[in-house]
Every structure is written in C-alpha cells, then in structure tokens.
C-alpha cells in the first residue's frame, strides 16, 4: 500500500541521508537541496503508480543526482534537451542503485550535513534554524512559528546563515577519528539546543514549539543509529526522552508551570520513559561518563520515582556533584542545591548558592530557588525580595505567574514547603 501518509513519512525519513549524499556529489548546499526537492516531486508522481521503492533514500539520491546533472548540462549548453522520459528511465533506477551506493559513506555524509549547520560563526538560533530547514526539512513557515518571528524574517535569517555556510566551504574530506568526535560533539550540542528551544517554551507558545522537541529526538535517534557505540549520544537520547516524557504534565489547563513534584505522574509518557531508561542502562555499561549521561541519570531517577516523595535526592545530589566536576558551572551548582535542600535541609542549600549571587545576578531561577529556600527557613521578608527579583527577570509570563503564586501564598502566610523546588533546567 502506498498511501500519501506513507510517502510523506518516507520522504521525511529519507531526507537527511539523501540531501547529505547529494551534498557530497555537488558540494553545494543549494544544488543538493534543489535536487532533493525535484526528486521528491518525481517520487510523488511515480510511487503511487509503481509502488514504493525498497530503499526510498537510494531512489531519491539517484533520481536527484540525475536531475541536477541534467539541469547543469542544460545551463551549460543553453539548448533544449530531449523529453524527460527519454533521458532517464526511473523504473530502472533501483536496480542500478544497489551497487552504486556505499553504505559506509552515509555515516560521514549525514554527520557532515549536520556539522556544517553548527558553523561557529553562526549564532545558536541560526544554527538551529538552518538545521531544521536543511536536515529536518521543516518549512520556513513552521520554523518561523516555532521562533515566534515572521516568515520573511526567518527566510532572511536562513538565507544569511546559508550564505555563511557556503562562504566557509563544506569540509569534504573524510574526517579522521578526532575530527569525527569533534563533529559529533558539536552536533550533539546543537541538537540539545533545538530541544531546549522547544522545552523552554511555555504557555501560549508551547504548542508551536513542541515540534522542536520531537525533531531533536528524531535527529538524535538518527545520530545514534549512525554511532551506536557512543555512550554520550545514548545519554543525550535518554535525556531528551526522559524530559520530553513529562511534557503532558508540565503545564496546567491555564498554561501555568506545574513543578516536577506537583506533576500528575500518570500523565508521563511511559513508552518514552522505558526507552530512556533502556538507553541510560546501555550507556552506563561503557563506564565513560559524560554530561549528557549524568543529566540523563538524574532524569531517570525522577522517572523511576512513582511519587515525588519517592525521589532519591541523595543520589541526585551525588550525580550533580559529578556533573559539577565534569562541567563546572554555577547553574549546575544551583541545580545541586535543590537536591541538597531535600537531603540536608534548606540552610545547607542556601549556604551553597549564596556565593553564586554575583555570577547569577541576572538569572531568574537563581532568585526563584533562593526565595523558596528562604521561605522554608521562615525568612519571609528576604524571600519576598528574592521573589520580586525573580519576577523582574522572568523570561516568560508562565515563569512570572509561577513566582507570583508563591508570593501570594507567602502573603497569606501559609507558605508550605512543597513549593521549595523551582527547578532550573538550563545549563
């Protein structure tokens, strides 16, 4: 059966492989993308009649390459060419393909395509936009919606970013082991940024941005299939799945933030959790810890706790201590303080974060956590000051609303400690 939904899914899933192989042939991003677009149009004509090809990506690469070569010839000769059906017999395309395509190339091709999007001259948001356009094939309109900008602004942004990529030149040589590891790390960071763009959205924007999380998970899955032995990629995949599994419980009907410990855990996506836990188990076996694995291990402890009060905070404290060593950052110490508050009490946690004040003076979550800790210690006046600072720094209306809610409770003088955790999430 070749219905339109299947063709759509097949074209989407073949895209990274096909575009990256075409990029290797033509060494030009625009040519590769156009060739892929044209091949997709042919697929829409041919597949419903002739049935789906065994290997959609191989079909698209072969057809796309022929189309681009024909187009180049036509431009060079400036003369009419014979009708399409006499120059390329698409029905034979597959038979010829089997030998021509070398599976070993795919891995570096796809990595290269992802890697050129991570060009260091490009700001993070442009890296993400261009990766979503080129690798994922999201429309400019979809990307613009996710970034809350106009379509024409996003079109310009992507065109500029592609210009920078083109000017930098595409690295065609096959990477050696060190380069491959560096590319992989850069790509993983970029994918994590895509996820965070989706994950940090809230309230009215959550719907528009949620596809970014799905896309990041899809790209990580692609990467993991290419590099099945990399524990950090397993860790990244586990981290994204375990965090995204909570999506249905993260906001209430009004779009307000629901804290991790107040979430209805029955809403969590059990299938994503199962996959995330399987991956973190696989990763740990390698005994090569890295930041994604450790963060995934924290997320796994939350996922394994049926109720918030079952959370193994002592273990989370240890994991954050490991993360502080691997990747020292005041934000990680702030995260650790949340666990420390549970294990050793709010005074110990407050002592831990107070030295961070100067470095996190512009960080919403710092004041949220500080206020909550002060509140637990019965220092209501200071808590109020911290909450006021948090509101001033809130990035979203949902964040501000959440702090305001704590303030309201404080004013009612019934501040229960169940709200202690304003969980920082960005590192």
């Amino acid at each position: 059966m070749t219905d339109i939904a299947w063709i759509d899914a097949a074209l989407t899933s073949a895209r990274p492989q096909a575009v990256s192989a075409l990029l290797r042939y033509f060494r030009d991003l625009d040519t590769a993308e156009e060739a892929f677009q044209e091949a997709c149009l042919r697929a829409l004509q041919h597949w419903p009649q002739n049935g789906p090809p065994r290997d959609p990506a191989a079909w698209l690469i072969f057809v796309g390459r022929n189309i681009a070569i024909d187009a180049a010839r036509r431009r060079n000769k400036q003369e009419a060419l014979p009708a399409e059906d006499t120059i390329s017999d698409l029905n034979d395309a597959e038979a010829e393909l089997a030998e021509r395509l070398d599976d070993a190339h795919y891995r570096d091709d796809i990595l290269r395509l992802l890697f050129i999007c991570c060009h260091p001259d490009l700001p993070a948001t442009q890296q993400i936009a261009v990766a979503l356009r080129i690798v994922s094939g999201l429309s400019v309109k979809q990307i613009a919606r996710a970034f809350l900008v106009s379509e024409s602004a996003m079109e310009q942004r992507i065109t500029r970013a592609k210009g920078s990529i083109g000017a930098a030149g595409v690295p065609f040589e096959t990477p050696d082991a060190v380069q491959r590891a560096e590319r992989l790390a850069a790509v993983a960071t970029m994918i994590y940024l895509i996820f965070n763009e989706g994950y940090s959205a809230s309230g009215e924007h959550a719907g528009a941005r949620a596809p970014l999380c799905d896309e990041a998970i899809r790209l990580t899955r692609l990467l993991l299939r290419l590099f099945p032995n990399e524990p950090e990629i397993m860790g990244l995949m586990a981290l994204l799945l375990l965090q995204h599994a909570r999506a249905p419980a993260r906001f209430d009907a009004n779009g307000s933030v629901v804290l991790l410990e107040d979430q209805d855990r029955t809403l969590w996506n059990r299938e994503m959790i199962a996959e995330g836990l399987a991956l973190i188990d696989k990763a740990m076996r390698h005994q090569r810890p890295g930041p994604y694995q450790v963060q995934a291990a924290v997320a796994a402890l939350h996922a394994r706790a049926r109720r918030a009060e079952d959370t193994d905070w002592a273990q989370i404290d240890l994991l954050y201590a490991t993360l502080e060593r691997l990747q020292p950052s005041p934000v990680i110490t702030l995260n650790r303080a949340v666990a420390v508050a549970k294990v050793r009490g709010p005074a110990a946690a407050l002592a831990m974060i107070e030295p961070l004040g100067s470095r996190l003076s512009g960080y919403f979550h710092f004041f949220g956590v500080k206020g909550a800790l002060l509140l637990q210690l019965g220092r209501a006046r200071e808590a109020r000051t911290a909450f006021d600072q948090a509101i001033a720094l809130a990035n979203t209306t949902a964040e501000a609303a959440h702090i305001r809610m704590q303030l309201d409770r404080l004013i009612k003088d019934s501040g229960p400690d169940r709200d202690a955790e304003a969980r920082p999430k960005r590192h």
Partner: protein
C-alpha cells in the same frame, strides 16, 4: 499450529509518522487483533522499542556485548504476534489482514512455532 507473525518495517519511516498517524495505524491493527482475540486465536503481542535501545550478545567462548540490533538492515524487526492458525493458508490470511490494516511498506514474516511457553509474571 501456533505461528509467530514478525513485523518488519523501516524504523526511520515508522518513526517519521506523526502521533496521529501512529495512533490511526494502531487503531486499525487493534481491530484485527480484537477479531483474533474473539476467536480465541491471539497469543502475546509485542511492539519493540527502537533498535537504538537494542543490545546484541554475540555467542562465543566469551559472549561479546555489542550495542545495537543483531543486523543492520533497511528494515527492522519492530514487533510480533503469536497467532493460532489451523493452516498456513489461515496464517497468510491473518498476516494479510494485518498488512491491509497497517499503511506501510514493510513485511510480515510468518514463522511456525516449535515451543511455546506462555509464561507467567511478566506483564
């Protein structure tokens, strides 16, 4: 005779389905399963997690642990059914019902079972 019906498909393609599409396919497959269950012919049904979650143990003097599925192929084993069929014809018919219900381009492999222990405890 008990038959295993093994579901093969491109994980990439199935993974690119929207949630709505996935739900729709599962709902259509559920109709076939319900029919089999009513006839008392349906055994265990499993949908496997993606092959990225798989680990392979290579047999040898020292078993070797490898990350990933047994074979890197264009299509992967994504799940299976155990169905009671009196003849191969009936098994083919059953697998064809499933094939019509799922709108994808993969395959069903029919494998007669030699030993079947339904087990107890794992849910």
């Amino acid at each position: 005779m008990l038959y295993a019906i093994l579901c093969y498909d491109s994980e990439d393609v199935v993974g690119a389905w929207s949630k709505e599409e996935d739900d729709a396919v599962m709902a259509r497959l559920a109709v076939v399963q319900e029919k089999l269950a009513k006839q008392g012919r349906l055994g265990p049904v499993a949908r496997l997690l993606p092959t990225t979650a798989a680990t392979t143990i290579r047999k040898g003097r020292e078993p070797l642990v490898i990350d990933g599925p047994f074979a890197e192929t264009k299509e992967q084993l994504l799940g299976f059914y155990i169905v009671d069929c009196s003849t191969l014809e009936e098994a083919i018919e059953t697998a064809s019902d499933l094939a019509r219900a799922s709108s994808s381009a993969g395959a069903y492999e029919i494998r007669p079972l030699s030993v079947f222990r339904p087990g107890a405890g794992a849910t």
